[in-house]
């Protein structure tokens, strides 16, 4: 296994770990906003690492550029849908829990 393959495999594994953590957060966190917080980590960093790992493995500039474009488009869609879901949750009156983290 070459150094590039090792790096790419590492990226894929760490990316998958982000997806796993995001999924657990989505299932276990109590309210809509913290679930979104967990989900966006998987969407942003997890997908970036997976795309970067696959781009390295492809060894092909065109495919790597296409994977980057896919990541950017997914990022755009994820950002705006998360924004819309958060707005809706706020409008529906979700309880925003800040009591422990925010000093008064």
């Amino acid at each position: 296994m070459t150094a590039v393959e090792l790096l790419a495999t590492g990226m894929l594994v760490v990316g998958a770990a982000f997806y796993l953590a995001g999924t657990i957060g989505l299932l276990r966190f109590p309210d809509a906003l913290s679930r979104l917080h967990a989900l966006t980590k998987a969407d942003n960093v997890g997908l970036l690492l997976v795309c970067a790992g696959l781009g390295l493995l492809s060894g092909n500039l065109r495919e790597a550029a296409l994977l980057l474009l896919i990541w950017l488009l997914a990022l755009l869609a994820a950002t705006i849908s998360a924004h819309l879901i958060a707005r809706r949750a706020l409008a529906d009156g979700v309880e925003v829990e800040m009591r422990e983290r925010v000093p008064r």
């Binding site: 488009l73 755009l76 950002t79 705006i80 924004h83 819309l84 707005r87």
Partner: protein, 310 residues
């Protein structure tokens, strides 16, 4: 390793199918159905059928999911309270029907395993005849050249679906209730980027459809998804009457395909013969427009489309 992945996909499909049908929560059932469609697309991709994978993801999960969601939204407007028990009473025939269906599917599966492989009769004839069509993608070859009567009828079925919606709405000048448009500022940015890109992707899929995975159905579904986005953000508006552009777009696929097919009779060719690759492109473009507009109108539950808020 590969077997483990395939087995978990197969098990996931069964679980998702069960969850989408058996749950009491209608909304959850719809979400499960959409995830089922996505996993089915992955299945097609693993079976080496990227054409079917794309069509399943775009039409099966995407557009059908949007149709089910908007139908759910309209149901809740008609009767806001969640129905007490949407699942029908258990029938005595259920076990027998399930056993029979399992038997039929198993028999078909066994027959398929024992059948002549892809290099067999029809497949070999297709691969031998494909270069003569000037197309490199056997799926497009089958859809537009070898089995094109099926394809004409598929486009005609979409037209019939629109006519059914029209018949339900009647001539009273109605459209079904529309979800309120999303007006967040970021949504404008999304539409500004995604709408032109969707058109680009649709044209690309149509163009490469003759020699790579892609084609009129995938391209039409991408355009329809873009139209759903425009409807949801208020850029397009459902109208009670169809203008000449909408009417023309609805029938152009069936009409162009049909006219080509009949016109070839005058040249002594068989019915639905295709004169060349240029005709394939023309027919596929017309089909893409019809598929996109019909799916958008089905989502809107309206006879026509009009310009909306900028």
């Amino acid at each position: 390793m590969n077997l483990a992945v395939d087995l978990s996909i197969a098990a996931g499909l069964v679980v998702l199918a069960w969850r989408s049908l058996a749950g009491r929560d209608l909304f959850r059932g719809i979400v499960m159905y959409i995830v089922f469609g996505l996993l089915l697309a992955v299945t097609w991709a693993r079976l080496g059928s990227p054409d079917l994978a794309m069509a399943e993801a775009a039409i099966g999960a995407g557009v059908t999911g949007a149709l089910l969601m908007v139908a759910y939204w309209r149901l809740r407007r008609i009767s806001p309270a969640e129905p007490a028990d949407p699942s029908p009473r258990r029938s005595h025939l259920a076990a027998a029907v399930a056993l029979l269906s399992t038997g039929v599917v198993a028999a078909i599966g066994l027959a398929a395993v024992g059948a002549i492989g892809p290099g067999g009769i029809a497949g070999r004839a297709l691969v031998e005849a494909l270069p003569a069509t000037g197309l490199g993608n056997p799926i497009t070859g089958v859809l537009v050249v070898f089995r094109n009567l099926d394809t004409v009828l598929e486009v005609a079925v979409l037209l019939a679906a629109y006519l059914a919606v029209r018949a339900v709405l009647g001539d009273r000048g109605e459209t079904l209730a529309q979800p309120p448009p999303q007006v967040a500022r970021l949504v404008g940015a999304l539409v500004g980027v995604v709408a032109p890109l969707s058109v680009l992707v649709a044209v690309y899929l149509l163009r490469v459809g003759s020699y790579l995975p892609g084609g009129a159905f995938q391209a039409g579904a991408v355009l329809a998804a873009c139209g759903v986005l425009l409807l949801l953000t208020g850029r397009l508006r459902a109208t009670a009457d169809a203008g000449p552009w909408v009417r023309g777009s609805l029938v152009v696929g069936t009409v162009v395909f049909g006219l080509f097919g009949v016109a070839m009779l005058a040249f002594g060719e068989p019915l639905l013969a295709i004169p060349g690759t240029w005709a394939v492109y023309l027919i596929e473009t017309a089909m893409m427009v019809s598929i996109a507009v019909t799916l958008m109108l089905l989502f809107a539950g309206a006879a026509g489309l009009g310009g909306g808020r900028r």
